[in-house]
Amino acid sequence: MHKLIDSMFIREFDNDILNQKKDSAILTVRNKKIAFTTDSYVVSPIFFPGGDIGSLAVYGTVNDISVCGARPLYISLALIIEEGLDRFVLSKITSSIRDAAKRSGVKIVTGDTKVVGRGSCDKIFINTSGIGEVYYDKLSADSIKKGDKVIISGPIGDHAISVLSKREGIKFGTSVKSDSAPLNGLISKILKTSSKVRFMRDPTRGGVATTLNEIVVGKPFGISIDEKELPVREGVRQACEMLGFDPLYLACEGRVIVIAAAEDTPKILKAMHQDAAGKMAKVVGKMSSECKGRVYMKTIAGGTRFVDMLTGEQLPRIC
């Protein structure tokens, strides 16, 4: 995917804003900074424990704006509906979108609806775009320094396992709910607390491992993470053990990775713990002088290993 984006899109549409490859484009309009982003949602199944495609489409865009230090305000909604989709299903999704927008404090201000023939899409696909007002413009991967800490806002992989278990009809020891949630409240608390937050990103596709690799690639330092500190719920661990997955590569939809100066970490954690979305936040690693440009992990056994980007999709193993 990264290769495709770089070789096909970044090269073709080459411009100073796109080339920054941020979660949202930061635009300056009459001296005001605005964050603008778009995302499409094709999740299957459309309803899963802890969420559905509608709320996911709102939170995903809200979060992409929020991690850029912007207050999400307005959202567009485009629906591609497969012919024959039950009206009741559609109404459940629109109610969910309404509630999610209310919870996130954003307005849905424009939209589009297309109906396509049976088989041309899988029930419903949603695209949302959003704009927000930048209130903190110092977030940049370039400001990260050696010694900075890596904080994660909560347990990882819940969303991926929730969707997978519903899709495949697999039950694990305990049921896992998606972590899908808006992060704008939590992020504004973090940014109010500290002026030494360097960078934030939500670890969606490719999970924590891929996000950390994106952050560190080409940098004169590495990221070291500590396996024993990684927050992973019991149900997610069980699913990973059974299917041969690594939780580090599982998508989250309501978690944020915060890179901040070590001295501010305690107060940032304190602020995060006061918000429902950050109750289980913890430090999982730091920027280290070893292994420049790479992510490596101290394992629970006391050894170390590299943590690379996700390539392709994780495939369930044979035995």
Binding site: K228, C291, I300, A301, G302, G303, I318, C319
Partner: protein, 363 residues
């Protein structure tokens, strides 16, 4: 997680590392082969090479079933997936394995019918739900997975599920070990034998390794403590023997019920292993009385002669003669996204393990 966390206890792992360190003779290099792909993955995932003395050399063996599946098997699966009204149901690892000219994943993107399932029983369920489609399950794997495939065929016959069949590519482990143990190029002092294969077959089928080939052997579990303890047991083994570390799962005689279901459905045949060639009596085929469920008989897949993947040294990697780092394609032309050899595809493959988890000094 119960029965997992106990075997990942850092203090016990450190103590075992110290004991291993005390037990080794520094003037000697110990070459131990971990036979199973899950062992390889675990060693890398937990970074165990970092905490072992430098004179212990762990060599990855041929115990990844996906990796030893030859090109022509994949070619047949691709042929089947392209037939009208046929759905190929498979374990996820298989879809990216390159055949002679393509892979199931590439064919799926061109419209071939491939569905990932988690067990043969899921494939059987797919057949029940789609009576107007033929469901072909890719029967890949060693003794660990064979009993469940045997059971799916037994149930299909009992329930008269006529649209279910298996493309049998099953292999058995002891014959491959015999070939390796007798290979003069391979300097192995001892084997970490596969825990889950042994859960089915027990310890007896390996006795030739100690008696004939004078190799030290320990049947090992897959958690860090299992592997560390097994290495210690190999070092401390006075004379060649088949010891069992994985006692919470393994008995000397294995699982009789599972063995019986294998015998009921399958019979021995020679089998082609990627990289190792044809090994006598190392494979299984579906018995005549169950031929209605044998995809090979039912569809007679028509394939062109197989082609090897040029430059790929998977064969030598599977034999433990070379490490993935010695391959010119490794990490350049052969990466998990675009694998040339099967060892890069499967999450249990040695090349995938080296690529994904390689220790810091290799990077």
């Amino acid at each position: 997680m119960k029965y997992v966390d106990e075997f990942r206890d850092r203090r016990i792992i450190s103590r075992l590392a110290e004991e291993i360190s005390d037990a080794v003779d520094l003037s000697h290099t110990y070459n131990f082969m971990e036979v199973c792909g899950t062992h390889t993955m675990s060693i890398f995932r937990f970074g165990l090479k970092d905490i072992l003395p430098v004179n212990i050399n762990l060599i990855s063996g041929p115990g990844c079933p996906v990796c030893v599946t030859p090109n022509d098997y994949i070619d047949k699966a691709i042929w089947l997936a392209n037939q009208k009204n046929v759905i190929v149901a498979t374990f996820g690892d298989m879809v990216r394995v390159p055949g002679s000219r393509s892979s199931l994943e590439k064919e799926r993107s061109r419209g071939a019918h491939v569905k990932i399932v988690y067990s043969s029983i899921d494939a059987l369920e797919l057949a029940r739900k789609n009576p107007d489609q033929e469901i072909v399950f890719l029967g890949i794997g060693f003794e660990t997975t064979i009993p469940t495939v045997a059971q799916s065929i037994i149930i299909a016959r009992k329930e008269k599920v006529g649209n279910y069949s298996v493309l049998c590519g099953h292999k058995t482990m002891p014959e491959a070990l015999k070939l390796l143990a007798g290979d003069e190029n391979l300097k192995v002092d001892g084997f970490l034998l596969p825990g889950h294969v042994s859960a089915i077959i027990g310890a007896k089928p390996y006795e030739f390794l100690a008696k004939t080939f004078k190799k030290r052997c320990v049947i090992a579990g897959f958690e860090p403590i299992d592997i560390m303890q097994s290495i210690l047991m190999l070092i401390e083994q006075k004379k060649p023997d088949i010891a069992i570390q994985y006692t919470r799962i393994i008995s000397k005689t294995g699982n009789k019920l599972a063995q019986e279901s294998i015998r009921k459905v399958f019979e021995k045949t020679s089998s082609s292993w990627r990289g190792l060639g044809v090994i006598e009596k190392s494979g299984l085929k579906i018995k005549k009385e169950f031929r209605a469920f044998d995809a090979e008989v039912k569809f007679n897949p028509k394939i062109l002669p197989g082609k090897d993947n040029l430059g790929c040294i998977c064969g030598d990697v599977l034999k433990g003669i070379k490490t993935p780092l010695e391959c010119k394609l490794f990490g350049r032309l052969c990466i998990p996204e675009n694998p040339v050899g099967a060892c890069m595809v499967s999450s249990e493959g040695a090349c995938a393990a080296y690529y994904k988890y390689r220790a810091k000094e290799n990077g």
